[in-house]
Symmetry: C2
Subunit: 347 residues, 2 copies
């Protein structure tokens, strides 16, 4: 048996199956999925590259696996959909498929621990690992995660559903993920703690173990609360810009209302980052839900155990004005630029 | 607008949409798909790495795009399914997103030409590009292609459907793809011709422009001809081994019956490869369909314009005997080992 088949067999052995959704999983040319009658399928793909989305010195293998899964699930959450299946494609240097170095033989390899992290989160959400691909990477680790989910026909939450006058909301807190990244960069103590971390409670390590808001997304759709939604993956400013673009509207954000993550304030205080507000606006990878609701809709202060905060409102399109405005605490306003995470960023 | 969004916009502009299947394509958190009522979804993912699956010096950008698409479609064909949508994740060095060097500005970049090659084949099969992801790669090109298709519930062709006594068939010809790879390696003339090749007729360039057997797969399922199927992606010996494993059977292959691609014979004659038979058995990337039919089934000599050849039969499992045997032209038999393409192959 060759190494690729060994890896596939090891992943297959670690992967639980859940009732419904997946009829044929790993082991055929294709997986076979059966969405519920009257439902449509939602599909998201996300690439994660070592050195770009994570660092092997900072992120434990379990954290990398968790984050790959969280990134895909978060897109499913933003549609108000139920996740069904995940497909994992992973290219790794051959050494990472070998038993952990300096740990004695039989100890889990980097890939084993990565898979454990990914599957732990998949199991929480009853998602079946239904397929994927493996290859040896000449450089660093590269993964591509595909998550499939289902939603009743025509009911998935889209970016394009907002109307002028809608109130903008966000779940949880913002800027924590970028703040923890700054902590990892600046603090040897933080790095030492992170290295062995195989899991963490919601909010404690927002960069290493972000929590996708599946339950909140489902509630937003089922109760008809949200009219448009997107997840905060690139950063609030960039994701709100996407939502404005697809809904053909402008937006105003109230700086004082932003739920800034405590870690972002800590990062500012310790000098790890220049500004907690900037982290909250542009940090990215928070995997919270950004959504709009009609002004007359009563949106609870908490949904599925996660705080929900009104942070601004949608405005009619106007080609002469900036697409987004930020209202400062003193009442003054300024243009808000989309400065969240983008690959291929120049300079 | 940042470069990533430019790339996505450029790909989006090049991608046609087809009726049915895809309700929401590129531009939201997820794509939204609506399989036909009474149908189930089939899903396949395939990674392609520069230096491992192709070489930029040998394969034109259009060839790389075509091959990525062909690889995914071939898995759909092996299920007897109708392809609906493709998701393209691609990580490339930034330079490949820039206009072609030495060609003047405004000329298509490597990614533009790659996308053209991929979409040309997608259009032939009415497949919509429904999403994906882009990133800058620190090393070479890496793509992950996800193809979704649909088949009537319970009717998809599986690897596990064979029975002892079934006749083994293969479409088209074998070994051509590996033979052309040998030609590219050994012949400067072949390389010079390949460099500018944006498309090719079926069978003419089996390595650069393989043809997925979608129509043949659909016929095999609809007419109930095939009971088990797999595509020849790793090489006949390895793919037949997979089919034996999943069907819990053994197999015997008749060497004289193998439809060896003319290019494989040419490669043997010119000394580019040691043996045409070995290319046909182990070459891989032919993307033909390997299937089994009950002995009483009348299988046409040609299906959807592609020749079909009986090459052996399935035998009852026997732990004391090799899983696969090769019957030589002189009537002698020998064990047939799975020696097709495998990543992570050692030595």
């Amino acid at each position: 048996m060759t190494a690729e088949r060994e890896i596939i067999a090891a992943i297959r052995a670690r992967a639980p199956r859940f009732r419904g959704g997946v009829r044929i999983g790993i082991g055929d040319d294709c997986a076979v999925l059966q969405p519920k009658p009257g439902h449509e399928l939602v599909v998201t793909t996300d690439m994660v590259l070592e050195g770009r989305h994570f660092r092997r010195e900072w992120h434990s293998p379990e954290s990398v696996g968790h984050r790959c899964m969280a990134r895909g699930l978060s897109d499913i959450a933003a549609m108000g959909a139920t996740p069904l299946a995940v497909f994992l494609s992973i290219a790794v240097p051959a050494a990472l498929a070998e038993p952990g170095r300096g740990q004695g033989s039989g100890k889990p390899s980097w890939i084993d621990r990565f898979t454990d992290g990914l599957l732990a989160l998949a199991m929480e959400h009853k998602v079946t690992l239904a397929g994927g691909d493996t290859a040896e990477s000449p450089g660093g680790v590269l993964t591509d995660i595909v998550v499939l989910g289902e939603a009743p026909k025509g009911e998935a939450l889209l970016r394009s559903g907002a109307k002028a006058g809608d109130v903008i909301y966000v779940t949880g807190a913002l800027g924590g993920s970028a703040a923890e990244l700054a902590a990892l960069e600046r603090s040897p103590r933080w790095r030492a703690e992170a290295r062995g971390l195989a899991k963490a409670e919601d909010g404690m390590h927002p960069q290493l173990f972000p929590q996708p808001r599946i339950a909140a997304g489902l509630t937003l759709r089922r109760r008809g609360l949200a009219k448009a939604a997107i997840d905060v993956s690139d950063g609030l400013s960039t994701d709100l810009d996407h939502l404005c673009e697809e809904s053909k509207l402008r937006a105003e954000v109230d700086a004082a209302a932003l739920p800034v993550h405590p870690l972002a304030m800590q990062a500012e205080q310790r000098g790890w980052a220049p500004s907690a507000l900037k982290l909250a606006l542009n940090g990215g990878e928070d995997y919270e839900l950004l959504f709009t609701a009609r002004p007359e809709t009563r949106v609870p202060k908490q949904i599925a155990g996660v705080p929900v905060q009104a942070i601004g409102r949608m405005l009619p399109a106007n080609a002469l004005k900036p697409r987004m405005m930020l209202r400062n605490a003193d009442g003054s306003t300024e243009p808000l630029a989309a400065k969240g995470w983008e690959h291929f960023r120049k300079g």
